[in-house]
Structures are given as C-alpha cells and as structure tokens.
Assembly symmetry: C2
Homo-oligomer: 202 residues x 2
C-alpha cells in the first residue's frame, strides 16, 4: 500500500462524514449484531451488507475481508472505552489507563473479540496480521503516556513504551482471560506503582 493510499484509508476510517458516515455506522451496527448472535465464525460480509442495507460492493471496497472489518471495530471500541488519560502524573495516567482496560476486558464485546482472536483457526495469516496491527496501534496510542512521562522527567529517557505498558497491563489480561479473576481498584493502582518503580532506572 502506498503512503498516499494509506492516508486515504486512514481518512476513510477516521473521518467519515455525511453519506459515508451513515454507511460506516450501519455496517458497524450490523456487524456487532451478528457477532453477538453467533461470534466471528458466523460473520460473513454479504450478510453484513444485507442487514446494513448497503451495497455488497461498498462493503468489500472498504473492508476486503471480515478480519479488517472486525479490526476497525475493535480499534474504534478500544478508543472509546480506553481513551488516553492526561492527569498530569504518570501514576495517575497509568492507573486510569489500567482501570479502563480492566473494565473493557469485562465487557462482553471485547471479551468476545479476544476469544475470537484466540480460537480462530481459519484465515490464520489474516488473523495474525490483524492482531499485529491492532496491538501496534494500541501500543502507539497508549505509548504517548510514556513519552509525556519521559518529557516530565518521571521516567528515564529511552524508556520503551511497549515494554513499560506490557509489564503494566499484562496482569489484567492474565486474570481477565486466563484465570478468570478480577482485580480491585487498589490492586490496579498498586500494579501501576510497581511498574513505575520497575522503570525508574534505565
């Protein structure tokens, strides 16, 4: 994909307006409906188009595969449910972020999307690419929190946003997905404190 195309696609994804915005929200609503009914396995683009009342080719032009459609929806959902906090301190920002991630992991849609990504066996290459793009985007967005902390002198220059955020957020996924337990808010702010200690020196 050329960078011009990429910008255009980003434009399509981020700033749909007018008729285009209507198409996107109708397609998203239809997709979520089908996902809730039968999960990723059951999702097919022609049915999405039919339910959304949109031409099939319109759907395929924007989302050539169902994986790309679900990727777009997942990223949008995470942007809405886990906005980038800006409290003025690293501990405040990280605690807010982790609390929002913890809540998102308990929502049926996010839990369902994660389960779909884990158990999906078909389209393996596509799923891999979709997961990689999802996490690259998520870590890039949340990484701003680390960059701001470095600017404020709260973390050493050169701190890796990915390493920092992965250490902080992985316990939430471990419990949410693997053990099925939840954290209290106090436990989450304690994870934030420990992670900041872990990265307080290079």
């Amino acid at each position: 994909m050329s960078s011009t195309e990429q910008v255009e696609n980003e434009g399509k994804r981020k700033r749909p307006g007018g008729r285009s915005a209507g198409v996107v929200s109708a397609v998203y609503a239809a997709t979520l409906e089908i996902l809730e009914e039968g999960g990723y396995e059951r999702l097919e683009l022609p049915e999405v188009a039919a339910r959304a009342g949109v031409n099939k080719t319109t759907v395929y032009r924007r989302w050539p595969t169902k994986a790309e459609l679900v990727l777009d929806i997942s990223l949008l959902r995470m942007e809405q449910e886990v906005p980038l906090p800006d409290t003025g301190t690293l501990h405040g920002d990280l605690s807010s972020l982790l609390i929002a991630v913890h809540a998102a992991l308990a929502s049926p849609l996010i839990a369902g999307l994660i389960q779909a990504a884990i158990t999906q066996n078909r389209d393996v290459e596509m799923i891999k690419r979709m997961r990689a793009e999802f996490w690259a985007t998520r870590f890039a967005v949340s990484g701003q929190l680390v960059e701001r902390a470095v600017e404020r002198g709260e973390l050493p220059p050169g701190t890796s946003p990915r390493q920092f955020l992965e250490l902080a957020s992985s316990p939430l996924f471990f419990r949410g997905v693997i053990t099925g337990e939840v954290f209290s808010q106090a436990e989450i702010t304690e994870i934030a404190r420990r992670t900041i200690l872990a990265f307080s020196s290079p």
Copy 2:
C-alpha cells in the same frame, strides 16, 4: 473433604505405586490421546476408561469429573515442564522459571489446555474451581522462589509471592495467548530484572 481424605488423595496423586501407578499412567495416556484428537469438548470419562483398559468405576472413584482429571494432568505436566529452579540468586531463579513457562506455553498440550479453559462454556462452575485450584497450586509451588529470596535478603520481608510472580509471568501469557508473539531469551531476562526492581522496596 477432611484433611485425612485430602492426605490420602494427595498420596494417590503424588505417590502411586504398583498396580495403581499403572492405572494412573494408562488413564493419563488415554486422556492425552483424546485431548489431542478432539480437545476437551470430546473428552468423556467412559471413553477414557475404555481406551485405558481400566474399569469405569475405578476412573470415576479417582476423578469424579473430567475437569478433575484434566486438572491433575495439567498440574503434573507443569511440574515436569516448569520445575522449581534453585540457582542461588533471585534473578537466576526467576529467569529460569520464566524461560520454562514461555516454552511450556508454546507446547501444543499446554496451549490446548489453556484454550480449553478459556473457551469452555459447559460445567462453568467446575471449570472455575478447576482453574482456581490450578493457579493456587502453581503460585504456591513457584512462590518458594520468592520466599527463598526474602530469606537471602534479595526482596523485602512481606513481599507477596503472588503479586511478584504475576507481574513477572503475565507478559508471557499476554504474548503467548493474546498477541501470538514470542519473546527472546534476552527479553525474558530483562522482564526478570524489571520485576525485581519493581519489588526492591516495599
């Protein structure tokens, strides 16, 4: 369950000898075979008994449900694949443990058991209890590594083994189960170093 029964059951689980040992290993082999063929969904105790050449009531007496059978096998496997290291230093112990966990997560059996635990919808209460017992046992075993480090003065008294080990090991599960990426050995020892820093003060 009385503590005497518990001791007896532990005895059965840990030190089977003679005829009993033969039964246990035949049942384990049959179970693994069925799990490999069709996963947890397909596993049924009568078929396990038939394949193992063991009386059905013998199987049911020891493992009243398939969940308990799979729990026993999972714990045994983890004991074998992730033995408790004793290198003399916390960083050595933790790095060894994490490297073994990382390798175990890549093995088809462990990955399959985790996937079964995540996606299993039937027997929900049983699965919950099984997961809780599995993790309580695993953290109790690996927790000795933390207790020894406290005795050596490498960690402050009162350090929570569970919090320490959860912060250290969760990134392995995050990548292994959620993003599908792997860590290099250098990245794993870096996680060990960061975790020790995180718990270097109370």
